[in-house]
Symmetry: C2
Subunit: 478 residues, 2 copies
């Protein structure tokens, strides 16, 4: 990626002075929540609410206009009625022409090309015509803008603080990405690095953001919600390049003609033919999820677990039926095979498990039955993870009667951490009881171990990891 | 169904005297938990723990043997080492021959035909040879047995009390069904009527249970987890008959050859060819889910919502992206079309919603944008549900900034309940924020309104309801 392009996006994520045009003193208004959430996100730079009617908002001094702000401004957030946005852009332009300090604008306001009207389109064009030629990058309009959990920059009126992690999100639907983050929050399923809600994507676009995040050390996986783009070829080329470094997990909306109409009414984007996307994306190494839940858990797993170094998966289960469902899903993909456990592994397992346990029928499947202790869970898991024939493990467990959730979590974590980081394999744990065992799940997630409620979804996630790993390995240096 | 067969199963669900052979005074043992859970389930009949070493267990007087019990026994639960089960069966037989009072036995113990050994198979045969000819029906072995939330009968060592509802479960994996119930519990997603974990299905089987539950007024939907059966033809015929009265939602394990091996090792059942099942099940009106989560939410929705009286669905959304994903999934099925809203509906909506709202692009899709009040949510929902062209609604919502979760829930419920019960249509609500808005979800679920985190799963559930309704309508009297 060109240095200038990268630099121009730096202002979005790393600005130290943020002005909010349309900041409001009234709780519940987006113009209030943005100020509140910027503070909640731990932003330590300067916050400049622009509001002629208030003295201060949440302790930040208000300014009647942009020109009254004496400090340096990097980023301007516009949360104004659509009718006022072009005039606001002119104010930004005047300041840029004078002080030269604004590098980016997030236009939260809606009422532009997504309306499908001439007025909406011409308003959007007017906005860009004022800002872009001056080197001011525009995110939106009709968006939630950016979040960076490390710098604390946050223009999102829905989410304030969020736990840090390696996942960055690029989305053409703010609501979709916010739903993901809120869904994941109680279970601590995801840690966030950067978030960009693109809205109408009038200037800053998917392609350059992918390039930017590929070079971002704090991003280990990119989750992409895509409705459509006019940059099809550039997107695929960039995606193929980025996928050599880190995974892109994508969900494509507008698969059907009728769905495309809904997408167009939403962000004014052209959905394109889904079949086209599907084929070329997969060739480009992009992990294309088939459902929302597969997208959620796949992105989370990539952020937490190492890649498998092969396609031989072991299914280790305490629960017969769910184990069977997991095996079904795994092998039906064709991308994964069940691991051929070594004789050493099998005899070590036999020494621990009860005679009724099933070791290797079918090959690579172990049903321990629930009759064993926390410490035996640890031993069994260590043996299985340590078998060189195993590239990854799906572990279906549940706290048996009166087994302590915390003790079980600690033993699972201890088994995993008994391996040196470079020897670790992906371990996906199916906790079928879901949020009825919150301590088990929370403790495991905090230790970086993905927990999934559904055995078949865990299988899909593992298949995605195996497929991506195979793509990436073609480009790794040897 | 024959009266004698039905009567013989009555003893399972409605027994008033339950003896537990293998009852234990030691907390954590299954033989203890069964006594505990029977009490927790509110069973008001007589509980007879058989235990020679203890005076009493959890306040229930212990008996040295079955013959020492003077009161009437309907059901015996065996939770003994496998080696002791045949001898225990003989004790049951002696009592039956003398007093004639035992009508059913639940054999929780494992160590029978599922082992795949001659010893296991002959032990199972010996058990049946003693009991079945005497008219004692056997559930199991290798199972969790039965629960009935109305009678309080409960032989499940994993679950005690559970909220009542119209869902009954027949399962060849106890762990699978327990996972479902525990998964659903914190969100109050499901209410249970009857539960039967069949284990090795040596005597009481899927076919007769389907017939029994078809006639059970407290069962409105049957959820079936199936690994395999030798009664293929009878199963399909019975399912087709039962489906004329109430829905059967099924999940089939052992879809792949390798998965079948796992299933066989688990309950000794023959998985059969999945393609065969799929085609004939669908023809028999059975709702065959393709994933665990689809199974979970479909069964819950049938238990809570009326059937659609057509296939015209309206997608009403506050959230653009998730709304698009929902539309994609709905229309790609071919079974559902988006509803043609009347002009009256459209003009009424226009009067309430902001100009930027999308009413009918595509037809049947309404994106309100998040900018409206709780009361407006209620009005919009009433208008859409009241349109005669609409057979059902998927409603994607979320509490906007500082909107009160409870107030939103009350308004949604009020809109729904403004219609007389016979005029109600299925309403599936997508709460994308999941358990981060527990009050909203819990309140809605308590009022009988299904909430689903994922827009595409909600679409699949609606498709299942539409398809089943079409099947059933062919047999309804006019």
């Amino acid at each position: 990626m060109e240095t200038t392009a990268r630099k121009s996006l730096d202002g979005l994520f790393n600005g130290r002075g943020v002005a909010i045009m349309g900041a409001s003193a009234k709780k519940g208004k987006p113009g209030h929540s943005i100020v509140e959430n910027l503070r909640a996100a731990g932003f330590t730079g300067n916050v400049y609410p622009v509001n002629a009617a208030s003295e201060s908002i949440l302790g930040f001094q208000c300014y009647r206009s942009l020109e009254k702000i004496t400090g340096r401004i990097d980023l301007v957030v516009m949360v104004l009625p659509a009718d006022d946005c072009v005039e606001a852009a002119r104010a930004i332009a005047r300041r840029k022409d004078g002080k030269g300090d604004i590098s980016a604008a997030v236009v939260v306001s809606a009422g532009f090309s997504e309306l499908g009207t001439d007025q909406g389109r011409s308003r959007e064009k007017a906005l860009l015509d004022v800002l872009v030629p001056r080197g001011i990058r525009v995110v939106g309009p009709n968006c939630l803008g950016v979040m960076d959990t490390y710098s604390g920059v946050n223009t999102n009126f829905d989410i304030g603080a969020y736990r840090r992690g390696g996942l960055s999100i690029i989305t053409q639907s703010g609501a979709f990405a916010v739903s993901y983050l809120k869904w994941a929050e109680p279970g601590r399923l995801v840690g966030l690095s950067k978030f960009v809600s693109l809205g109408n994507m009038s200037d800053v676009n998917v392609v350059e953001l992918l390039g930017y995040l590929a070079d971002d050390d704090r991003t280990s996986v990119i989750a992409l919600y895509l409705e459509g783009t006019r940059q099809g070829r550039a997107l695929v080329e960039t995606a193929a390049h980025v996928s050599r470094k880190k995974p892109i997990v994508a969900l494509k909306a507008g698969k059907t003609r009728i769905g495309s109409v809904a997408a167009a009414s939403h962000t004014g984007s052209l959905a394109g033919r889904f079949e086209m996307y599907q084929g070329v994306f997969r060739q480009a190494g992009v992990v294309l999820a088939e459902s929302v839940i597969e997208f959620y858990y796949t992105a989370a797993a990539f952020a937490k677990m190492p890649l498998p170094r092969g396609n031989s998966i072991c299914v280790l289960t305490v629960l017969g039926g769910p184990g069977t469902l997991c095996v079904d899903e795994l092998v039906s993909s064709g991308a994964v095979r069940l691991a051929r456990l070594s004789e050493k592994t099998k005899s070590e397992l036999r020494a621990i498990l009860i005679p009724a346990a099933n070791i290797g029928k079918p090959e690579g499947f172990i049903d321990t039955t629930p009759s064993f202790t926390e410490a035996q869970h640890r031993e069994v898991l260590k043996i299985v993870l340590g078998d060189p024939a195993v590239s990854g493990v799906i572990y279906l467990t549940t706290p048996p009667l009166f087994m302590d959730e915390d003790a079980l979590a600690e033993n699972i974590i201890a088994a995993y951490e008994s391996f040196a980081p470079e020897e670790r394999k992906p371990l996906l744990s199916v906790i079928g009881f879901g949020s009825s065992v919150p301590r088990l799940r929370n403790r495991m997630e905090e230790a970086g171990m993905p927990t999934i409620e559904y055995p078949d979804i865990a299988a899909k996630v593992m298949i995605n990891m195996v497929r991506y790993s195979r793509y990436k390995s073609r480009f790794d240096e040897h």
